[in-house]
């Protein structure tokens, strides 16, 4: 097992001087994932916060081979790189092994890039797809995405006297990916560096496609103080809003079970996007949210206990 000292001592793939918001946790996720790779990496990056903020021409923050792609084709290009790489290896033009990683935001994964992702998983290319999930189109100013949680205020589903914000629950992307019968899919978050590192290790070791969804609190559009990024990441896990679990060959394993589940209010409190839920007339939204979270958690516990194939 790696220690934090060992992880931070590895060379970081991103250089300072990138223009992600103050307090953004995307670089933390990217650095931790790539630190887990023992082999050289090739990155395919869908359009999103990470892409626009790390490579503003003529500057680039990347120290590793990196490719800029559109919203929809990060997984398709990663699959192409893998296939080309295999062909080169067969002809003896390349010798070393590499790890191919695709990074996408939740917009480029849950919504726009979904068919390319599904196709690449189904074809069984050996690559890791990482979604840094900030629960909306944050780079363009907080539009609703398939990952936006129930009750959140966004510019396309604004909260007001006639609206509570988004009325649908988010997609369960980890289970959707696991349902492609891929060897490894996991849910992780920014604050738990060791957990994220270990999951990336397992993903690289998997024989086939692997998928990691990492929650990435967004200071700009969740609207909270920049210092609290990791605190909100922690609260998301402790309230079971974002459970840490992995699906290895279809079998669920929960990595962290909070001793005492915190009420969801603790996660919602202080976030501008959920401010309207604390009005007396919106109390029922929080109650409904709590009920959904508890039901999901029960279901997850059952899946783990029964070891039923997802």
């Amino acid at each position: 097992m790696a220690t934090l000292q060992e992880i931070v001592s590895k060379q970081v793939p991103l250089a300072p001087g990138h223009r992600m918001c103050s307090g953004c946790s995307i670089p933390v996720i990217v650095n931790t994932i790539i630190a887990a790779s023992d082999k050289p990496v090739i990155i395919a990056n869908a359009t999103g916060c990470l892409e626009v903020a790390s490579t503003i021409y003529p500057f680039t923050a990347w120290k590793v081979p990196w490719m800029h792609l559109t919203f929809e084709n990060a997984a398709a290009v990663a699959a192409g790189i893998e296939t080309a790489y295999k062909a080169f290896k067969k002809r003896g033009k390349m010798k070393d092994d590499v790890n191919i990683i695709a990074f996408g935001g939740d917009g480029g994964t849950y919504d726009i890039g979904f068919q390319a992702l599904s196709g690449a998983l189904e074809r069984g290319h050996k690559f890791l797809y990482v979604v840094y999930d900030n629960e909306g189109y944050m780079n363009t100013g907080n539009q609703r995405s398939g990952a936006t949680p129930f009750g959140a205020d966004t510019t396309t589903v604004p909260a007001g006297t006639m609206s509570i914000g988004k009325t649908q629950w988010r997609k369960n992307i980890v289970e959707i990916c696991a349902a492609h019968r891929i060897p490894y899919a996991a849910q992780a978050t920014a604050h738990n560096t060791l957990d994220l590192f270990n999951k990336a290790k397992k993903a690289f070791a998997a024989d086939g496609p692997s998928f990691i969804a990492a929650l990435q609190p967004c200071t700009t559009n969740w609207k909270y103080d920049t210092a609290l990024t990791m605190a909100y990441s922690k609260l998301a896990v402790e309230t079971n809003f974002w459970p840490l679990y992995e699906v290895e060959n279809g079998k669920v394993h929960i990595n962290y079970k909070p001793k005492e589940r915190k009420p969801i209010e603790e996660f919602l409190k202080g976030q501008g996007r959920f401010r309207h839920l604390f009005k007396p007339e919106n109390r029922h939204v929080i109650e409904e949210m709590q009920k959904m979270i508890d039901e999901e958690w029960e279901r997850l516990l059952k899946l783990e206990e029964s070891q039923v194939q997802i």
Binding site: P16, R19, S22, P27, T32, P58, A61, V64, T226, A231
Partner: protein, 115 residues
């Protein structure tokens, strides 16, 4: 008929050397400055792992550095924050288990250094 072009003849896309962003100093974004008290640090590396701007340099120390309780800390140890890139988000101060980092207003820091 014009000669048929193959993919070899296509124009290359933007091709950049690595890490040119180092020339772009994001330290000017900062409104709050982290002040690091080395005498209270246990070199746990939490701030290093959590820094979104990779602005906390580390080094391997064989002989060790003096930290909390006058103890010698060996191995990976953190150094003073790199203010060329620190955006002053305050995650380090918030997450530090020994609270050895405090945030002060940038103007105060500048005033103190020019006095």
């Amino acid at each position: 008929m014009a000669d048929k072009k193959g993919w070899h003849d296509l124009m290359r896309g933007a091709d950049l050397p690595p890490a040119t962003s180092l020339e772009y100093k994001t330290g000017s974004w900062r409104s709050m400055r982290p002040v690091f008290d080395a005498s209270n640090c246990i070199h746990c590396m939490i701030c290093v792992a959590y820094c979104p701007d990779m602005a906390i340099p580390i080094t391997k120390s064989e002989e060790g550095v003096v930290g909390k309780g006058g103890r010698l800390y060996k191995g990976a140890v953190r150094l003073e924050t790199n203010f060329d890139y620190c955006k002053g988000c305050g995650i380090c101060a918030q997450e530090c288990p020994t609270k050895c980092i405090t945030m002060i207003r940038e103007e105060e820091a500048v005033e103190a250094s020019t006095k």
